[in-house]
């Protein structure tokens, strides 16, 4: 019978009993609801062996790739070390190697950290020595020098963001969590057209995803719409225009929703312009990052226009309330 390890608990689980039932019988607290593989409340992750295929039915491909599975659909086949989502992994020490101002209120923070596996577009919790913690998206694909880039927008009373902008220095330590989230690129369908829509520093994960996709030889069209109210909120525009000039299948549309109109920008909200431009999104993969309302509206509009829900990846940036 397979041995299942969860935290400090070790269980011997019969293969003909659902893993969820074995865990619950052992008085382990596992969230669950529908028991039919639908609600995904009992989502868990295997840290070593691949989970049974049946236990991964209906999960996003990016989650399947990370060995996530549903405990209520899992008849264990082999030994597994499992965990609940986002409760695993030790923290990792990092050192600040660069700070570069991308826009008046956006700082690109580069840190160096060894032994961290991630995909561009996932997010990481950054922690200051006193414990103050915030989540930021990774804006670059894995590189040989083990660096990670983040775009830190200064918030009016943001304790963490103001500290990054004003206090944090090159050489300072930071503690990182393991990478989390399912908003990233997978090279399983290189010809699929991609639509990426971001507002503000929601560009960060998209910037990483685009570079990752291109590095992995993505051949389908890639359309990026980046939106802000005023030109100061758009950044990396030079780099993106250059990329569009050099890569025929990459298309970049910077959008401004505020007044007055400025030349060189599309006028309007990024997601409205992006979705108005596309008649039918059947077969597209859509990435949405930034303001929660934009993300929710776009998700709905993209779905109605034919994109399949499993092909819509989103990351809503929720601003943490200042304590």
């Amino acid at each position: 019978m397979p041995h299942i390890t969860l935290g400090a608990s070790q269980l011997t689980c019969p293969s003909e009993t659902l893993l969820l039932d074995s865990l619950l019988q052992a008085n382990l607290r596992i969230p669950y609801s529908c028991r039919q593989g639908i609600c995904q409340s009992c989502l868990m992750q295997s840290l070593d062996a691949k989970p049974p295929a049946l236990a991964q039915v209906g999960l996003k491909d990016t989650l399947q790739r990370q060995n996530y599975f549903l405990a209520c659909r899992c008849y264990p086949e082999q030994d597994m070390h499992i965990t609940l989502p986002n409760q695993h992994g030790q923290s990792i020490n990092a050192v600040v190697t660069e700070k570069r101002r991308l826009a008046p209120d956006i700082m690109q923070l580069t840190v160096q950290a060894n032994g961290l596996n991630f995909y561009a577009g996932q997010f990481i919790n950054l922690q200051r020595a006193d414990g103050l913690t915030r989540s930021y998206s990774i804006a670059n694909p894995p590189s040989p020098d083990n660096t990670l880039e983040f775009h830190i927008r200064r918030l009016p009373h943001g304790q963490f963001s103001n500290w990054v902008h004003d206090g944090l220095a090159i050489g300072d330590p930071l503690t990182l969590s393991q990478a989390q989230g399912s908003c990233y690129y997978l090279p399983d369908n290189p010809a699929q057209p991609l639509l990426l829509i971001g507002t503000g520093s929601g560009l960060a994960p998209l910037y990483g995803i685009i570079h990752d996709a291109l590095a992995q030889g993505h051949s389908g069209d890639i359309h990026l719409y980046h939106g802000s109210r005023d030109p100061d909120g758009l950044y990396l525009t030079e780099e993106l225009h250059t990329l569009a000039a050099n890569v025929a299948h990459f298309h970049y549309t910077p959008c401004l929703s505020g007044e007055p109109q400025a030349s060189g920008y599309a006028q309007g909200r990024a997601h409205e312009l992006a979705l108005a431009d596309k008649k039918n999104l059947k077969g597209w993969r859509v990435y949405l990052c930034g303001h929660p309302e934009m993300v929710n509206n776009s998700q709905r509009m993209a779905y109605i226009k034919g994109a399949s829900l499993k092909d819509i990846y989103s990351d809503a940036f929720v601003v943490q309330q200042a304590e």
Partner: protein
């Protein structure tokens, strides 16, 4: 010659099982979101979760394996009933369900059976 002796096939199997539910959810949920009469009841929710609920509902209406409880349905819709959810909205959902099945070329006699199963949730959904 007209004798038929095969074992009775369940409604769920006749419709095509889980794959048919997936195909139907995709069409049905889009119709619901586009229907101005009811889409306000579907706003501000996690779409993946919402689609999962539609799938559970259709699985039940297709006669498939389910854990349907009237109480869950009541609890889930209580907030919407306060917002004014009534028979006209339930009728609109039923209309979308029928149109979905017609689009999938499901025979009329099976559509009637699905509609009858879906209809059994009306009082729970509307908190009657």
């Amino acid at each position: 010659m007209s004798e038929t002796t095969e074992a009775p096939v369940s409604l769920f199997e006749q419709l095509g099982g889980a794959a048919a539910v997936d195909a139907a959810v995709d069409i049905f949920y889009r119709k619901v979101l586009e229907d101005y009469r009811i889409n306000r009841y579907f706003s501000n929710v996690d779409m993946a979760q919402q689609a999962a609920k539609q799938k559970a509902f259709l699985t039940m209406a297709f006669g498939g394996p389910n854990n349907y409880t009237g109480q869950d349905m009541r609890d889930a819709h209580a907030r919407l009933v306060k917002m004014g959810l009534d028979d006209s909205h339930f009728d609109a959902v039923m209309e979308n369900l029928t149109a979905t099945l017609q689009e999938l070329n499901v025979p009329e006699n099976l559509i009637a059976q699905v509609a009858a199963l879906a209809e059994t949730t009306r009082n729970d959904v509307l908190g009657k």
